[in-house]
Symmetry: C2
Subunit: 304 residues, 2 copies
C-alpha cells in the first residue's frame, strides 16, 4: 500500500509494475486492509496500525528515522528509513558545495556583490582548513570521502566509536568538544534523536575556533537558530550554510533569512529519487520476505 502524494505514487506504481509485477500494489487505500503487509509513506500516522492490522513493515521515503519513531507504532512492525543511492549522491553534492563555499568565503563575496564592492581577499589552501563531519553513517562517510581529494584536514564524530581510514574519529560528549575545537568548518549530518536536539547551540559554537563556519544538513530541531545568530553577530563564527530549520518553511520575519553571513536553502540538500527509492523498497520487501533485515531498518532504542 502506497500512501505517497500522487506524482510520487505514480513513479512508485510504474517502478513496481516493471520490477516487481508479482507484488500487488495499491495507492491511497486498499479494499481489504487486513491483507496489507507493507506500507510506503513519508510520515506514518499512528492510526495506521489500527486500520492495517497485519502490516509487517513501514517504509518511509525519508532518510531520517525520527518521524517513524515518533509515530509510536507497535514494536512488531519493522520501521525502515530510506537508504538509496540518489539521496546519498545529492547529499554529497550539496555538502561539498556548502563546505567549499564556506572555505572560499562565498557569503562574504555575495554580501560585497550586493554592495557592488570589488573586495578580493586571498584564498586559503584547503590543506590549511580543518573540516569536522558530525555523523558517520552512510551519508557522513560518503561526504568525508568526497572531501578527501581537496586535501582538507578532516575529522569525524559520532555517538559510538567509528574507524575511518586516515581520518581521526571521536565519540561521545567529550569527543564532540574536541572535534568542534579543531574544526574551521563543521558539517552536521546527524540523525535527529533526543541527544542531538539543539546540539548545534551556544555550547558547541563556543568550542569552535574564532572564524568557525557551520554547514547544517541534518535536521531542523538540531539547530538553535538564536545561538547561531548570536555567534555570527559577535564575530565568533564567520558564516553558515543552512538547509534545514524549525519550523519549515522558516517564518518570513525570522532574522536568519537576511543575515549576511548565512546562505539558507529550503530543505533541498537531498531528496529521495522516485525511481531509485522504489527500487530500494522492492529490494527491502524481498529481504523481509526472505527473513533478512532490510537496509535502513530503524533501531527504536538508538533512535536511528
Amino acid at each position: 500500500l502506497c500512501l505517497l502524494d500522487p506524482s510520487r505514487a505514480e513513479v512508485f506504481a510504474s517502478t513496481f509494475g516493471r520490477l516487481a509485477p508479482d507484488l500487488p500494489f495499491r495507492c491511497f487505500r486498499s479494499e481489504d486492509p487486513a491483507r496489507v503487509r507493507y506500507i510506503i509513506t513519508r510520515v506514518p500516522a499512528p492510526a495506521l496500525a489500527q486500520l492495517y492490522t497485519n502490516v509487517d513493515a513501514i517504509f518511509s521515503v525519508m532518510a531520517g528515522a525520527d518521524a517513524l519513531i515518533n509515530a509510536e507504532l507497535p514494536q512488531r512492525i519493522a520501521l525502515v528509513r530510506m537508504v538509496e543511492p540518489g539521496l546519498i549522491g545529492m547529499m554529497r553534492d550539496y555538502a561539498v558545495m556548502a563546505t567549499l563555499a564556506l572555505h572560499r568565503e562565498l557569503p562574504h563575496f555575495l554580501a560585497r556583490q550586493r554592495e557592488r564592492c570589488w573586495a578580493p581577499i586571498s584564498p586559503v589552501p584547503a590543506s590549511e582548513r580543518r573540516v569536522g563531519v558530525l555523523g558517520l553513517g552512510v551519508l557522513g562517510t560518503t561526504v568525508i570521502d568526497a572531501l578527501r581529494p581537496f586535501g582538507f584536514q578532516l575529522a569525524g564524530w559520532s555517538r559510538s566509536k567509528k574507524d575511518i581510514i586516515n581520518v581521526p574519529c571521536y565519540e561521545g560528549a567529550d569527543g564532540l568538544r574536541v572535534v568542534a575545537a579543531r574544526s574551521d568548518i563543521l558539517v552536521c549530518l546527524l540523525p535527529l534523536t533526543p541527544e542531538t536536539h539543539r546540539i548545534l547551540g551556544a555550547d558547541l559554537f563556543r568550542c569552535m575556533p574564532p572564524g568557525g563556519r557551520l554547514v547544517q544538513v541534518g535536521r531542523g530541531p538540531q539547530l538553535d537558530e538564536c545561538a547561531l545568530l548570536a555567534a555570527l553577530d559577535s564575530g565568533h563564527l564567520r558564516a553558515a550554510v543552512i538547509d534545514v530549520v524549525e519550523p519549515e518553511p522558516l517564518p518570513r520575519e525570522h532574522p536568519l533569512w537576511l543575515h549576511p553571513g548565512v546562505i539558507l536553502t529550503p530543505h533541498i540538500a537531498s531528496q529521495t529519487r522516485g525511481e531509485t527509492a522504489a527500487a530500494a523498497v522492492i529490494d527491502n520487501i524481498r529481504r523481509v520476505q526472505s527473513n533478512v533485515a532490510p537496509i535502513g531498518l530503524v533501531d527504536r532504542q538508538c533512535g536511528y
Copy 2:
C-alpha cells in the same frame, strides 16, 4: 631581481634565502643591472630589456601568459608563467564549488532567500548533468579529475587535440559548438589569446541548451558581458558564476553586479601562493641553468 610588491617580495626573499642561498637575490633594484640574469615580476614592463641587458628569463607570478607576451620583449628572453601546486589547487576548489553551485541552483535559492521566500525545487542528480570544460591544460585537466567523482557527464575542449581517459574531448571551432550544445554547465579555463578574446559571446551561448549555465574562471576579455546578460534575460541561459571581467574592478554601475542569475567574485578563484611560487621559480632557475626548459615556458606563437 624581484620586482613584486613588498609583502610578496619578502616571502620570496626568505624562501630564496632558505632554499637557494647561492642565488644572489635583489629586490626592486640592482646596483649593477648588467648582472641581472633572472627577473621575477607580475606584469613585465617593455623597458626591462633596455635596462637589464643580460636577462635570460622573466618569471611571472601569474598563471596567464598574455601579459608576458604583450610586453613584446626580445625573443632571446625566455618568458615563464607560473605553474605551482597552490594555484592549481585553489582553481580546483573554486571551479568545483562554482560547478556544484550552478548544478544545485544556488543563484535561484540566493535570490529567493533575499525575498524571504521558501521555494524548494527538486534537485537533479549529477549523473543527469552535462559539464563541458574549455581549456585542457594543467588547470582544465585538474578540474575534470576533481569533477569525476560526482558522476557528471563530462566533456572537454581545447584548441588542439587532447586525450583524457573516459572524457570525450573536442577541438577547433566546430568542436567548440559541439561541446557547447551538449553542456548544461560550461567551465571556461582557457588562456587569453587573440582566438579566445570574446569567445564567451552570443554565438557560443546560442549553441548551449536552454537553461545552460556558465562558470568563467579564465580571463576577463574572454567574456562578452552584454551577451551574457542578454542570454540570461532572455531566459536562454539560467545562471553564471563569474570570477574575471574586463575591466577589473568592474565599474559600480555595471548591471552584472546585481543580476539575480549571477554570482560575481573579485578575481579570487586562484592566486599564486608566495612560498610555493618562490620554490617553483627556484626550481625553474635551476632548470634554465642546466639548459632544461623551465615549467611554464611560454610559446609566443601559441600565445600560452
